[in-house]
């Protein structure tokens, strides 16, 4: 279906060059939007194509890039059903049927990665998710707008740091040779091994996520807060509702929709926990603690060149993720919220 668009594009390319040669600002392209959608339908598609060809042409570079680097890989997932050999390519590799999946489901390392993924995801849900909401509430109550925007700016700056940078900064602060441990050593208080301890790895990962992205997460909740009608607060105060009652009966219900939406997104992404973040630290804490589904398909797919095996793990992850999004949305609808899409 996409190829038809590409062909149309080429035809228009021709036409457009002719028109460009005729000089800029030639014929007015649009029929100045008289009438609504119904009137629009009455115009034949040929005329609309002529009218809109430059608009369609504009979208083509992006569509072309997406076709090559997003849609072609979707087709490429068939390697999961092959014994992919780089020398033969996707077209000539031997078919494997479901052999890769059978091997995958019998692989204890895979289930271990699955377990890690769900565990880290759950820890993040409990310890990370509420923090931006609380910070937004707190920041919203700061009345001085200069101070408020300064704090906001400082807290969302780390969102733009790369994961390598964040991990390095953590290493310098609380790592074995970091600031905290130096301090502890100088005061003979022993050392605290946080960066390389596999048992507390999920906490480490979560604290890094909090440090990097809590400030960024504030933005959407602050927007939700500012959308709440101030008259409601005034009316409630006039009726004698105190600070906390107002928060409970006005602020929180006002944020409910956004909170549910963010929760749905979070649940939909439950299987993709910080790929780069874990990849970078896998060396320090060992694969036993740091392997999640993403790193599993990276190391056992690309690292050992068993591409089909990694692709199979990838498909498994995508399917479960789609089910999770769908399920989370169902849940959101059950609670009377829109979620990601309306019912």
């Amino acid at each position: 279906m996409a190829s038809t668009v590409a062909e149309q594009g080429e035809d228009e390319d021709e036409q457009d060059r002719r028109e460009a040669a005729a000089g800029d600002g030639g014929t007015p392209v649009s029929g100045t939007a008289a009438g609504g959608r119904a009137a629009e339908r009455r115009i034949s598609w040929r005329i609309r194509l002529r009218r809109d060809k430059s608009l369609i042409l504009m979208t083509l570079p992006a569509v072309a890039l997406l076709l090559v680097f997003n849609y072609l890989p979707m087709v490429g997932t068939i390697t999961a059903f092959q014994y992919y050999d780089p020398l033969d390519g996707i077209t000539n590799s031997e078919w494997a049927g479901l052999a890769n999946f059978r091997q995958l489901f019998g692989d204890p390392l895979f289930w271990h990665a699955m377990e890690n993924t769900l565990y880290i995801s759950a820890v993040q849900l409990v310890l990370f998710f509420p923090i931006p909401i609380l910070l937004a509430l707190l920041l919203n109550s700061v009345l001085n707008s200069r101070i408020r925007s300064l704090i906001q700016a400082i807290t969302f700056l780390p969102h733009f740091y790369s994961w390598v940078l964040v991990v390095t900064l953590f290493q310098q602060m609380i790592g074995g040779a970091g600031l905290l441990n130096q301090f502890l050593r100088e005061h003979n208080a022993g050392t605290w091994d946080f960066m390389t301890n596999p048992h507390t790895f999920s906490l480490l990962v979560t604290s890094q996520v909090v440090w990097k992205d809590a400030g960024w997460g504030i933005i959407v909740f602050l927007a939700a807060l500012s959308a709440i009608d101030q008259n409601l607060y005034e009316a409630a105060a006039a009726d004698g509702a105190g600070r906390w009652r107002r928060m409970w009966h006005i602020t929180l219900p006002g944020m409910r929709g956004v909170i549910v939406l963010m929760l749905v997104l979070r649940l939909g992404n439950a299987l993709s926990v910080g790929f780069e973040q874990l990849l970078i630290q896998r060396f320090a804490v060992g694969h036993d603690a740091a392997d999640v589904l993403d790193t599993f398909s990276f190391y056992y797919g690309i690292g050992t060149q068993n591409y089909s095996y990694g692709a199979a793990a990838g498909i498994f992850k995508s399917v479960i993720s789609l089910l999770l999004i769908w399920g989370a949305n169902k849940l959101a609808h059950r609670f009377g919220e829109d979620g990601l899409y309306r019912k």
């Binding site: 800029d24 369609i56 740091y161 790369s162 390598v164 390095t168 780069e276 591409y307």
Partner: protein, 316 residues
């Protein structure tokens, strides 16, 4: 703390904060303190690591030793680590590579995204629903890591710079943000321009782009930061070719993993004769170089974040 003179506010009621709504209760001392402490801690947690790293990178080896590693109080200041590093060697190469990738990638991404966003923003144009669907589908369904790697490899991307740019050149999310902005603003202006006989290209260039500078700036910076932070694509496509590594990967290999810099003895890192330069200050200098552009660009971006959503030619 002893007060010799009475504080000026005593006896009078404190001046009302004009931002506080009339119906709201005055703040309690405990509440104010708790709030201040919490927000202060949050801000310090973010600033202190960066402060220590910056200070260490410009400290003399003696000062670093006295501090037992990272420097918290400024002592002896020197810019040697930066001059040794920028005079040649892997970091300078990586810096050039990163600047190149960021510049080329950002321009490419912006041209493609602005065109696409405008093309999709006229809601009655032919096929825009279909094209929009083509875009949105990629946000939910993806081929996954391995198939993408195989496609790029089979196209000959392995070991080439373009594999760091093209596969991630289009962000559908950014396009949708731009599109939302383009379709909500300046409808009257666009119609007026169309009456005057302007083509769509002309409208985009002389009407839509000038009226949406703020959002364009924000999206440009999103893309630029993305390319500046390129890491995983390097791991996939250029893991062995250290000549082509951008900054983030150099940071990973030499600071995070603690590998030795190639040619550490005679070029770049610790030029022979300068062996007293503590490696730590060099490492921290790499961190600062990676960090600096983001810190410099950020205030600019911050300004636009606030302004971006308010500007519109009609309102102004």
């Amino acid at each position: 703390m002893t007060t010799l003179t009475a504080p000026p506010a005593r006896g009078r009621s404190r001046p009302r904060n004009p931002n506080r709504p009339a119906w709201e209760e005055p703040p309690t001392a405990v509440g104010q303190t708790a709030k201040g402490l919490t927000l202060g801690t949050v801000v310090l947690l973010i600033i202190v690591p960066v402060y220590c790293v910056v200070l260490t990178s410009v400290s003399t080896p003696g000062a670093i030793n006295r501090a037992g590693g990272l420097v918290i109080v400024p002592d002896g200041i020197t810019f040697d680590p930066y001059s040794t590093m920028l005079s040649g060697g892997p970091v300078r190469r990586a810096l050039l590579v990163t600047f190149g990738i960021t510049a080329v990638g950002t321009v490419l991404s912006m041209v493609v995204s602005v065109l696409c966003a405008y093309g999709l923003s006229r809601s009655r144009s032919l096929g825009h629903r279909f094209l929009l669907m083509v875009l949105v589908v990629t946000m939910f369904v993806s081929g996954g890591l391995i198939p993408t790697f195989l496609v790029v490899s089979e196209l000959g991307g392995y070991g080439k710079y373009w594999s760091l740019i093209l596969p991630s050149a289009v962000s559908v999310f950014n396009i949708l943000v731009l599109r939302g902005f383009y379709s909500s603003t300046a409808a009257e202006l666009i119609d007026a321009a169309r009456m005057d006989g302007a083509s769509e290209w002309r409208i985009l260039w002389s009407v839509v782009l000038p009226t949406s500078r703020a959002v364009t700036a924000v999206i440009t910076l999103f893309y630029a930061v993305g390319y500046w932070n390129t890491f995983f694509n390097v791991m996939l496509y250029l893991p062995t070719d250290s000549q082509k590594w951008p900054l983030q990967y150099v940071l990973y290999e030499y600071v995070n993993l603690g590998m030795n810099m190639p040619g550490q003895v005679n070029s770049g890192f610790g030029v022979s004769g300068h062996s007293q330069t503590a490696p730590l200050s060099l490492q921290m200098a790499v961190v600062v170089i990676t960090l600096l552009p983001i810190m410099l660009v950020f205030p600019f971006m911050q300004k636009h974040f606030a302004k971006g959503m308010l500007t519109g030619a009609i309102k102004g």
